[in-house]
Symmetry: C2
Subunit: 355 residues, 2 copies
Amino acid sequence: MTTTQVLSVALGERSYPICIGTGLLSQGHALLPVIHAGQTVVIVTNETVGPLYLERAKGLFQNGTVVTHELADGEQWKTPAAALSIIDTALENGAARDSLFVALGGGVVGDITGFAAAAFMRGVSFLQIPTTLLAQVDSSVGGKTGVNHARGKNLIGAFHQPKAVLIDIDTLNTLQEREYAAGLAEVIKYGAIADPAFFEWLEANIGALRERETEALTHAIYRSCELKALIVAEDEREQGRRALLNFGHTFGHAIEACTNYNTWLHGEAVALGMIMAARMSALPQEDIERLVRLLDAAGLPTAAVDVSATDLLAAMLHDKKVAQGRVRLILLRSLGDAFVTGDYDDAHLQRVLEQ
Amino acid sequence: MTTTQVLSVALGERSYPICIGTGLLSQGHALLPVIHAGQTVVIVTNETVGPLYLERAKGLFQNGTVVTHELADGEQWKTPAAALSIIDTALENGAARDSLFVALGGGVVGDITGFAAAAFMRGVSFLQIPTTLLAQVDSSVGGKTGVNHARGKNLIGAFHQPKAVLIDIDTLNTLQEREYAAGLAEVIKYGAIADPAFFEWLEANIGALRERETEALTHAIYRSCELKALIVAEDEREQGRRALLNFGHTFGHAIEACTNYNTWLHGEAVALGMIMAARMSALPQEDIERLVRLLDAAGLPTAAVDVSATDLLAAMLHDKKVAQGRVRLILLRSLGDAFVTGDYDDAHLQRVLEQ
């Protein structure tokens, strides 16, 4: 028996459903956008995910004229050229304003495809079918799309909400252990910034999650998406509260940049970044240790990285969230309650970076 | 004595003022966005407009850190690469989320700069300072931005509203006769689609307009922007009524495409396209003649072009406004009253294209 859970991202006329369950790629879901006969559907995937799930995904759009586009796998290919290549394929196959773009893959595929959909004819519909845990709980929800620039990640992009997000938990069966753990980092983040009870639930169920047990996994994904959806609905374009979602990310991006993006997965860098952010917060030592323990139990790195404090600080200053020269940080009041601030002690920051 | 006229484009939180007057580049205007000390202002212009007006434009932003970027002049340079080159310059000079992009030039500069502003860090503020009549009455107002693709114009872009539009009529003094007349085509369009009284005023004042008399010009630009602003406010993302602004453009784009964009200026092609659209409409012969006479008096072409009907029809089918294979046309009920329809006689279309 399978149950599909559906939650809604409430954004007025841009609202959309997130469908979470097993077997969804085979059976689809009633909430999927309706494709009219002959409508062009451009499914974008990559060389890793395509062989596994493309045929099943095509089955969801039998009414339409399906066109497929395969990207190379990897963050280094998340470029303006990749987004343009999708648009080339779309135009070569007669795509028009009423076409639907579909992102089938992880966060990189989703971000590139979403940006291509945003820019193609000033915006066409798109659908997210995330196949990694990270994409399912984070990048597929909220409408942030984009590609990288030589000077930094996601510096070129758009806010463009999908028409729906289809999360088939079965696709996680083919996900490598390390990638899976990296996704858990974002799940833990939601507990840490917005929901102490969820944080406790994660502490109690991290074993089941590591075993990818369907029930625990469904709950973790549902609650993560729900927390993200609530925050996004309040602040779609990141003028305020949405910045909380970047907990651990300012430090994490700096770690990634200083290691040339070839040492840590994004989720791993975020795990390390969350520990640094927790250490910058006025938290009891015991709470910092709870966070470290949970990340460790999730299979994530918790140990210091071999990067100089000077390099980290320089990389943080390059982050696009820098307002008027001062790095703003997301810190914790307690586990489950985050806030944004530019008011912190620079010497304290220096000590944390050196640690 | 100079009077600045200000009208507002009413788009809720994205509302913005259009300031129209003489000497504005020298004196600025109280409604310009306030630049805080050190804020990066990226002024984009081209090799033709830069030498004439860049120094004056820089004077408007003395508080900020001004960076300039010069594009090549011409529609053939309206490419994704041009938009990326602006972003490169912005990043090389420390631009961030709070930076302001400024478009100083004609429609091409405005469209490219607007798209760069839309995509840079998922959207930064931008200001339009249009220096051609066409840009002043059309492309600078309404938030359509974009670049061309080998397969067609404006196929890559975004809806991104400026913070303000600064129209300094003095800049028209350096505009070539043919470019100026091309701008008048869009002015005449507003009369034809939405305001019979304005159409009559244009018939009475076309002589003064050709002489670029300040009073007539100010009124023509103000009323054109006002009519466009009203339509855009009703339908920002072109789901319905905004399509009326494309009167003459479906035919015009086809004419441009079939002549490799090297025979007619955009406004000239639109003039020819409006005559074709009028001939497709159920209009009295006398009204068609009034339109032709007015366009002719404005210095615009009215004679048939040397392009085959077959090529024109093929080009029209490539237009991005094609919904499900049927070209939708903007036709006139009468001079001053347009509507969109897919319900027309194909044989009639064939005859008009052959004419």
